[in-house]
């Protein structure tokens, strides 16, 4: 019964979406206020129905209703409640429902909080959002229906995969989806603006908060996925340039470019067609990612249902949505009024460089991900494009960007004094040089690349700090003045400083954790000791123990440093008899500076055990840095100027070069 309600609600949602997509769009074109007004309640209604549908599916999982095929295939009564719930989106059909729900959620948010949007723009935005929803809802109902019944219902579900019962793995998808589905909003805004034929500073101001929200969530989702890989997969790796990882990273890169490009459009009414294009591209990459995961076109450990017939549907959807929007772009973008003029050396110029490098980086990732497919399609053989390619091409593109990111915030609009700016960064030059030399010496004469990377990260961090200090006149005015200025700084300034500094931290941590990690693989017998990175690991042996649905062999390591006890580590090898599966659970001890990471392997049959011990310096700061980036985004979002009081178009049109009320 509940499943039928859920099914029915989904159909209603599709109908509402069809209405929401049609009437407001026509209404905006013909000036019919009543039809335009349909958009807001329709958005709420769509969210309501999809919410009911999602709720029904969740209910079916929670009560383990195995007459619902989706539940029977993807759940089990013995699963803890938390994982029954996460099982809802842990499969293809449920995840499509989650996709549709988040799409509707963003639509409803604009409907409820977009009161200051001009009615025509709002109507068009919501209508386009609805058309995207129509695609996903139709896809769900016609090819991926989660509410299909099984008759007779099995007694028990068939999936008790312990690997999926893990908080990191189970809960990173919703954040990822909030991220790249959230880019649909920027997309809808972009297409609506193209239809209107007008992109201006006000539009950019309206787009930015939605993009920030999506981008922040995407950052979190990607970080969570990487963090999970790190602690679960047993050798401390966290990024593999896997096609599906790339599928989430490309929208992030495009979204970052979009965020920055929108600033120029907002402040200077320039880079319009670029911002529009980036908004279209970011979401297009999200859609592309959806296609890649579900169509079987690329193999990946992450891949969902590899079903070519579903792939055809999604591809058709892609062609309509992306092809349609890019066609509209080709026709309408040339007609957008060019905005403010600026010199090449200026903040605008810096942001053009930002756009260029991020887009090039994103294109590189796309090229590498799709190249094997392209070659195979042309019957030119099979190559594989792995981490060495991406590391070799992506790195050189990102490094100049980080250098520029320290300089950019100092540049003034329209025309900037570059030598002057560089003069203000003298301290940053000094710090960079010291870090570069120091780390090169520490790499004992290997490649200078890590040292260069660390130097650049230091450059960015110091530059961000100097810029912030400059804003509040730290050390150049009495502290009370600085404090006062700090209190009145716009939140977006804080957001930028935090985010830029955090990026530097993440980059530095990644480099350090890769270059200076210590790995020790050995065969150890109980009582033996080994020294790794200054820590002494004493192997106490292995005990058998039984868990709720597994039997395990648990090893014990006593870790000391200079005789001082630090911790005890208990890595395990678990066997799940019902799945006939063995997993290894690493034991990790996290300090502020590093992770100690221990894994046990196979016994040699003579009392010895194969063990792996790692010292991973600065790894915790990769995750902390990522959280800081999200904090930066959140802080920016609380900036008063982004919410209420978005400038009325009349004021913006008052002068040719008029800027919105705050600089």
């Amino acid at each position: 019964m509940i499943a039928e309600i859920g099914h029915y609600a989904l159909i209603l949602a599709l109908l509402v979406a069809l209405v929401q997509g049609t009437l407001p769009l026509i209404g905006a074109q013909t000036g019919n206020a009543a039809w335009m007004a349909v958009a807001r309640p329709a958005s709420v209604g769509q969210m309501l129905f999809i919410g009911i549908s999602f709720g029904c599916l969740t209910y079916a999982y929670v009560v383990s209703d195995f007459s619902v095929m989706n539940v029977a295939q993807n759940s089990h009564s013995a699963k803890p409640l938390m994982y029954k719930i996460s099982g809802v989106w842990g499969n293809h059909e449920g995840s499509i429902l989650l996709w549709a729900m988040i799409l509707a959620l963003f639509g409803m948010a604009v409907a409820l909080f977009g009161g200051n949007l001009p009615p025509t723009l709002r109507a068009r935005v919501l209508a386009i959002q609805a058309w995207i929803a129509v695609g996903f809802l139709a896809f769900a109902l016609f090819t991926s229906n989660p509410f299909l019944r099984l008759d007779p219902a099995p007694f028990e579900g068939s999936d008790l995969n312990p690997l999926l019962q893990d908080p990191g793995l189970a809960f990173h998808p919703p954040f990822l989806y909030l991220g790249y589905v959230g880019f649909s909003m920027a997309f809808s805004f972009a297409v609506a603006a193209l239809i209107e034929g007008r992109v201006d500073a006000a539009w950019a101001r309206w787009v930015r908060p939605w993009t920030l929200v999506a981008w922040s969530f995407l950052t979190l989702g990607i970080a969570m996925g990487s963090w999970w890989a790190y602690y679960e997969l047993g050798w401390g790796g966290f990024w593999f340039w896997d096609p599906v990882e790339n599928a989430s990273f490309m929208p992030w890169l495009a979204g970052t470019a979009l965020l920055h490009s929108a600033i120029v459009t907002e402040k200077r009414d320039a880079l319009k067609s670029w911002t529009i294009l980036l908004a279209i591209i970011a979401f297009s990459l999200s859609l592309l990612g959806t296609f890649l995961v579900r169509s079987g076109v690329l193999t990946s450990v992450h891949a969902f249902a590899t079903d070519p017939t579903r792939g055809v549907f999604i591809l058709a959807f892609l062609v309509i949505v992306i092809g349609g929007s890019l066609t509209l772009y080709a026709i309408r973008a040339p007609k957008l009024k060019a905005g403010g003029l600026f010199a090449p050396i200026s903040r605008e110029g810096g942001l053009v460089l930002n756009n260029l490098l991020l887009t090039a980086a994103c294109s590189t990732v796309l090229l590498g991900t799709m190249y094997p497919l392209a070659l195979d399609a042309l019957d030119l053989g099979k190559v594989s494009v792995g981490p060495p390619y991406f590391n070799g091409t992506f790195g050189p593109l990102i490094m100049p960007l980080l250098v520029a990111a320290a300089i950019g915030p100092f540049l003034t609009w329209k025309r900037a004094d570059l030598p002057g700016v560089l003069g203000r960064l003298k301290l940053a030059f000094a710090v960079t040089a010291v870090v570069f030399v120091g780390s090169w010496m520490a790499t004992t004469g290997g490649s200078p690349l890590p040292a260069i990377g660390l130097g650049i990260a230091a450059w960015l961090f110091t530059g961000a700090m100097i810029e912030f200090a400059g804003r509040i006149k730290l050390f150049r005015a009495p502290l009370s003045v600085s404090f006062n200025r700090a209190r009145h700084l716009p939140r977006s300034a804080y957001g930028m400083t935090i985010a830029h500094a955090a990026i530097a931290i993440v980059v530095a941590s990644i480099i350090v954790s890769q270059v200076w990690r210590t790995e020790h693989i050995a065969l150890m017998h109980p009582g033996e000791q080994v020294e790794v990175a200054g820590y002494t690991f004493t192997f106490k042996g292995v005990r058998d123990l039984a868990g709720p649905n597994y039997s395990a062999q648990r090893a014990e390591f006593v870790v000391t440093r200079d005789g001082e006890p630090i911790t005890r580590l208990f890595p395990e090898k678990r066997t799940y008899p019902s799945q006939d599966m063995t997993t290894t659970e690493a034991a990790i001890h996290t300090t502020w500076l590093a992770d100690l990471y221990a894994v046990i392997g196979d016994p040699d049959g003579e009392g010895g055990w194969s063990v792996r011990i790692y010292h991973n310096p600065l790894v915790p700061w990769i995750w902390l840095g990522a959280i800081m980036i999200v904090v930066g985004g959140a802080v920016s979002l609380t900036d008063r100027r982004l919410r209420v009081g978005a400038p009325r178009r009349a004021r913006a049109a008052a002068g040719a070069d008029a800027k919105p009320q705050t600089a």
Partner: protein, 178 residues
């Protein structure tokens, strides 16, 4: 349209190329790795017999007529699916089938063949998998068509289904026989 306006078409054009590529990609299987040994001589090897059999298999045995070489193992689930087909090929005398038992326990292999039938004219036991590596084997089952001159002509990845036999393998064998 001026060059300036042409550049607005660029994203769309790139997307069209991408979409075509994806469309073609839907018809391919990315997990299949084609053999690089096509048109090369069979790798040199010499394997002892599978338990319970007198003769093993060596590369020298693979010259003179068109043959199939099938990599199998008792632990390979998909091999069970194709095995009846191989049995029929031998019963009907369609084409001689030779086997290489890949990374298997002697007892297990023998029991499996006893139960499933032994279609192999000769078979060899590749205990450590080195011969498999020489043939570029990465998963089971894999079946190779060898021509008269002892050259690898075709590799079939995965279990042989009736349609594979009818549409690809048998026609190719016919062609090779002249």
């Amino acid at each position: 349209m001026s060059a300036v306006q042409l550049r607005y078409m660029l994203p769309l054009s790139l997307f069209v190329v991408l979409a075509v590529g994806l469309g073609v990609g839907l018809t391919r299987d990315p997990s299949q790795i084609p053999s690089v040994l096509i048109d090369q001589d069979v790798p040199r090897f010499s394997l002892g017999p599978v338990e319970g059999r007198a003769r093993g298999l060596a590369s020298a045995d693979l010259e003179g007529e068109v043959r199939l070489v099938n990599f199998f193992a008792s632990w390979c689930v998909a091999c069970r699916v194709e095995h009846p087909l191989l049995n029929r090929l031998t019963e009907d005398g369609t084409v001689p089938v030779y086997g290489i038992n890949y990374k298997d326990e002697p007892h297990d292999a023998r029991r499996w063949l006893d139960r499933m039938g032994d279609p192999y004219v000769r078979s060899g036991a590749d205990h450590d998998g080195r011969v498999g590596i020489d043939w570029g084997v990465y998963g089971l089952p894999e079946t190779f068509i060898i021509d008269r001159n002892g050259r690898i002509v075709y590799k079939h990845i995965g279990p042989i289904r009736p349609e594979d036999l009818e549409q690809t393998i048998l026609p190719l064998i016919e062609e090779l026989r002249g």
